[in-house]
């Protein structure tokens, strides 16, 4: 085991390999408040990558309803139970990561979902947390809560899948930090399936190898965002590259939201993988739940989001506005721009969409018209 630095938990930790960061790290931001669980992302991924024999049950992208939805069944609660109660002291995690809590003879603490655990994605999970009192009526605030959690592989800085593979069949691309399974080298031991806490590696029973999300790297190589990003109906996603906190560049949309405004948080940072998909936490969910899921700083993140200034609102308006990766961004008055790495403009979006009103009844054609906001 080597000692490496994990900024998300505010300390050094043990990892199987020494610290070796890629030239640049693929990262993403998902705004949970905007997801409508339409599953367009899931299908965009499925049709692009996993329509083969043996891939039927695989969802490299899935959207589940928290707190009762899981794919595979119990993926997070099972591991949290195995890890046991752990502590944060401020921004420093004092508990054990999955690498530090590994069982004897293994490289990471994990468990293997069985076939059945994948069998019923999304079935019966759209339930509120808590019951509604008899006679209650919806007035203003939600009395109970749930939210949609869209998930892909986190292309972790310290991937447990990669650490656990005894053959070195999994590698992190030095050019963009995307984590891939070498399909020519994998021998299907499923150690990665067991070790990935997010359960984002899947065993293909027809080829006998394990497969996972590749962040649509052929698109990334062409400066385009992955399929699940560009097809997102709710425009909740933005893909780009993240710097370490000390190198944060406010012109980089990902750095700005994660490091400068600190409104986007990693998923279960306490597990120690430094995952690179960041979530803007749901604003109506009790923070005792979101704190466990996204780490410290949740209250501040929600307050910032609720009181978004023009910069924040502007940058959020860029989400889903272009297929191209926006390495830089800039706001000028009420217009926000997404830019290429060299500063060339890709897209410009108004902070406020103009409102067009049509008369309800078109007398010339004799038709009623509906206005949608």
């Amino acid at each position: 085991m080597a000692r490496v630095n994990n900024w998300q938990i505010g300390r050094d930790m043990s990892y199987w390999y020494p610290e070796s960061r890629p030239k640049r790290q693929f990262a993403a931001i998902f705004d949970t408040n905007k997801c409508i669980a339409c599953q367009t992302c899931t299908l965009a991924c499925k049709t692009t990558w996993t329509s083969g024999v043996g891939q039927e049950y695989m969802l490299w992208n899935n959207v589940e309803t928290k707190p009762y939805g899981f794919y595979p069944l119990g993926w997070d609660v099972k591991l949290l139970a195995e890890l046991g109660a752990q502590q944060w002291k401020g921004d420093v995690y004092t508990g054990r990561t999955v690498f530090e809590a590994a069982r004897p003879g293994e490289r990471a603490l994990g468990w293997r979902p069985e076939e059945y655990d994948y069998a019923h994605p999304n079935v019966g999970e759209d339930d509120c947390a808590g019951s509604i009192e008899k006679g209650a009526a919806f007035v203003e605030q939600h009395m109970a809560w749930f939210f949609y959690l869209a998930r892909i592989c986190n292309h972790c800085t310290y991937p447990a899948c990669l650490a656990s593979c005894p053959r070195g069949s999994i590698y992190k691309r030095p050019e963009d930090g995307i984590v891939v399974v070498d399909q020519g080298r994998c021998r299907g031991y499923q150690e990665c399936v067991k070790a990935c806490p997010y359960k984002k590696v899947f065993f293909n029973p027809m080829t006998g190898t394990s497969e996972k999300c590749i962040a649509c790297f052929p698109k990334i190589e062409q400066e385009q965002q992955p399929q699940c990003f560009v097809n997102c109906i709710g425009k909740i996603r933005m893909a780009g590259f993240i710097s370490r906190p000390e190198d944060a560049n406010p012109d980089n949309p990902i750095d700005y939201l994660v490091h400068v405004r600190k409104i986007a948080k990693p998923l279960f940072p306490q597990l120690g993988l430094e995952p690179n998909v960041y979530y803007i936490p749901p604003i109506h969910v009790p923070t005792h739940f979101t704190r466990q899921m996204f780490g410290p700083g949740i209250e501040k993140a929600i307050a910032e989001y609720r009181n978004a200034d023009k910069d924040l609102a502007g940058l959020l308006a860029l989400f889903g506005s272009s297929e191209s990766i926006m390495h830089r961004w800039r706001r000028e008055g009420d217009v926000v721009m997404g830019l290429k790495e060299d500063g060339t403009e890709i897209v410009r979006v108004p902070l406020k969409e103009p409102v067009h009103e049509r008369v309800a009844y078109d007398a010339s054609l004799k038709v009623q018209r509906t206005n949608c906001p």
Binding site: T47, W49, T50, S51, G52, V53, G54, Q55, E56, P104, G105, E106, R107, R112, P113, E114, E115, Y118, S164, P166, R167, G168, Q183, G184, R185, C186, R187, G188, Y189, Q190, E191, V193, F202, F203, N204, P205, M206, T207, G208, T209, E211
Partner: protein
């Protein structure tokens, strides 16, 4: 190789057990003798000629040297018989395993066994744990899942999930005629391991694979696949024959080393999680 204390105590226990037999019972054999075989080698594990060969009981130990380690003993012993026609050597392995596991699935593993020999026959053998850099070992691996396919299980999803139905695969499109290159290309597009020629990924014509290794984690297919094999389920386990080329340089009366490994799928054994032996002397008997 270092002899750690646990392995030393196993060795000591075996030694004491051997000594306590006194002079009344013949001492157990200390090496595996390859016996000459007139005519073709028996490729079927149930061939009665195997019963004429005395089995060598090879005790299996845990693979607990490299991660992921196996920490709970499963198969305790593999019974080994060997025959040679001069050009090839056949190993007959038999072990107890209460559950037949031959379907690879998420979180479910298959029964398997392997024979390992040093790539070069020399007194100084490489490390028994998969060899070492620059000093390769040759491995012949048999998997129950491959045997099932060779025995006729179709390469279909329904063979794994009998009640599975699928609406549509991209290669089922009407524009791609059945049996056409275009359809095959589309099939491969959604099967990356097969597209890359990973030779454990496709439907297999043989239940064994020839492999080379130069240390843990380095296992790779051999340049040529020349070994053959066949496994059958017995009342309480498996009986498998593996036939490979005679180790080069192993002349009658000479010795090399051999090692064995057994995986029990029901015990979640796969890859390094296995029961195995250390090196055992392998002796080529002189024809009478």
């Amino acid at each position: 190789m270092q002899l750690d204390s646990r392995h030393f105590s196993v060795f000591l226990a075996l030694l004491l057990a051997a000594c306590s037999q006194g002079g009344t019972v013949a001492a157990p054999p200390t090496e595996i003798a390859i016996q000459p075989c007139a005519g073709t080698l028996p490729a079927d594990p149930l061939d009665p000629r195997w019963q004429a060969v005395a089995p060598f009981p090879a005790p299996l130990i845990l693979q607990d040297m490299v991660e992921p380690r196996l920490l709970e003993t499963s198969t305790r012993e593999v019974r080994v018989r060997t025959l040679s026609d001069g050009a090839r050597v056949a190993f007959h392995l038999e072990w107890d395993d209460a559950t037949k596991e031959d379907l690879p699935m998420p979180a479910s593993f298959v029964d398997a066994c392997a024979v390992q020999l040093p790539a070069k026959t020399a007194p100084d053998v490489p490390a028994p744990q998969m060899g070492e850099p620059g000093r390769a070992v040759e491995i012949v691996l048999w998997r129950a899942s491959w045997q099932a396919v060779v025995d006729g299980r179709p390469d279909t999803l329904q063979a794994i999930h009998p009640n599975a139905t699928t609406d549509h695969y991209p290669f089922d499109a009407a524009s791609l005629p059945e049996g056409s290159d275009a359809r095959r290309a589309m099939q491969l597009r959604y099967s990356p391991a097969r597209a890359l020629g990973n030779d454990l990924a496709g439907p297999r014509e043989t239940p064994v694979q020839d492999l080379l290794a130069e240390g843990p984690g380095t296992l790779a297919p051999a340049s040529a696949h020349t070994s053959t094999g066949k496994g059958v389920r017995t009342a309480n386990g498996w009986s498998v024959v593996l036939v490979r080329a005679m180790p080069p340089g192993l002349a009658p009366g000479a010795r090399t080393q051999v090692a064995f490994a057994v995986w029990q799928g029901a015990h979640e054994e796969t890859g390094a999680r296995k029961m195995r032996t250390g090196w055992m002397p392998l002796f080529l008997e002189v024809k009478p």
